[in-house]
Symmetry: C2
Subunit: 197 residues, 2 copies
Amino acid sequence: MATTDALTPERILEATEEVLRRHGPAKATVVDVARALGVSHGSVYRHFRTKTALREAVTQRWLDRTSTSLSGIAAGAEPPETRLRRWLAELFAAKRRKVGGDPELFATYMVLVGESSAVVNRHRADLTGQLARIIHEGLERGDFAPAGAAPEVLARAVFDATGRFHDPAYAREWAGPGIEAEFTALVDLVLRGLRAP
Amino acid sequence: MATTDALTPERILEATEEVLRRHGPAKATVVDVARALGVSHGSVYRHFRTKTALREAVTQRWLDRTSTSLSGIAAGAEPPETRLRRWLAELFAAKRRKVGGDPELFATYMVLVGESSAVVNRHRADLTGQLARIIHEGLERGDFAPAGAAPEVLARAVFDATGRFHDPAYAREWAGPGIEAEFTALVDLVLRGLRAP
DNA sequence: CAGATGACAAAAATTGAAATCTGTCAGCTG
DNA sequence: CAGCTGACAGATTTCAATTTTTGTCATCTG
């Protein structure tokens, strides 16, 4: 009883995810969320100023789950090149799992992501930050070599270069036949560009 | 008189472009095109089976103009690395000119491009073909080195890696402040990956 | 009295009837 | 008779009336 008694932001987010899963992004209303929680919609507005803020919070939570799972790899003990390769592979794999597992839910989140560029920018900054840490260490150890480029700049370049394998806009192509080979070819090219001669 | 007399596919495409420019992709009708040409809409259907086919032909014409302007660079006499750099820079510059010059018309073509993936695939094959020719020459001359990779595979990797700077989906970001620096950082990384040690 | 409620105005979405458009084709015209 | 026309059926779009939703707030309740 105690766990479901108080109306917390956390519980509201949980319910909102469920409503979005059930009704999709177009028909999920604040009233639906309130009904799912057994409260009036006025109570939901006590915790989230607007419907937009509520949706953004749900989107952020969803994106943060990916960031968190990747940060484990970024902070690992393997050599930077291995870590970078694993990090990129896991990012791609995680995205593919999400589309493959529940395409409708993925489509829902694609709509949400398209609505709030601020949340997306934060997420990208988060991920490129992880990349920068790996690259920084690679430069320090002398494994990576590009002259005169800051880790942040290289991180952004690596993130942009691999966009086709993590940007949801390309999700439709992730099921194609040669996609694994194309991913490998691109990562090989990028790592060659990073590696010390 | 002779030039505007016969109703040719060419004249219909010209008129369709004009109608799209004026009315936008949502409101441009076949009847509008026929009216612009001073004929009945039935006559337009004599040359294009469907409205979709007409739109695809217009889209292809538009994309082909970019391909053609780039093929000059691809076939040039400069060393492959210079040529590749110029080719990528010109592709990016051409896209930026198109958005900057007439954003509404660009938005119209973005809609058209989104409608016909077959035309887009052909266009991409065309462009990666040009890249492959440059890369092939670079490999032959020993300027480029990646072991065991076919020029076509490398070309596709280079094309994918630079997507953020030519895929219209990213057009909104092309006006940002650091975009030139980000482009240079990415191209430098890719060329380092291609270059022989 | 902290927190929830539900009536309410303004904004947005839905609906369905009317208007327009697509694609065909029998017949017209130069 | 080659090429164009325009009437037509079915599909799609538009538009205005109606319903639903958002966000606020005076009031209620445990």
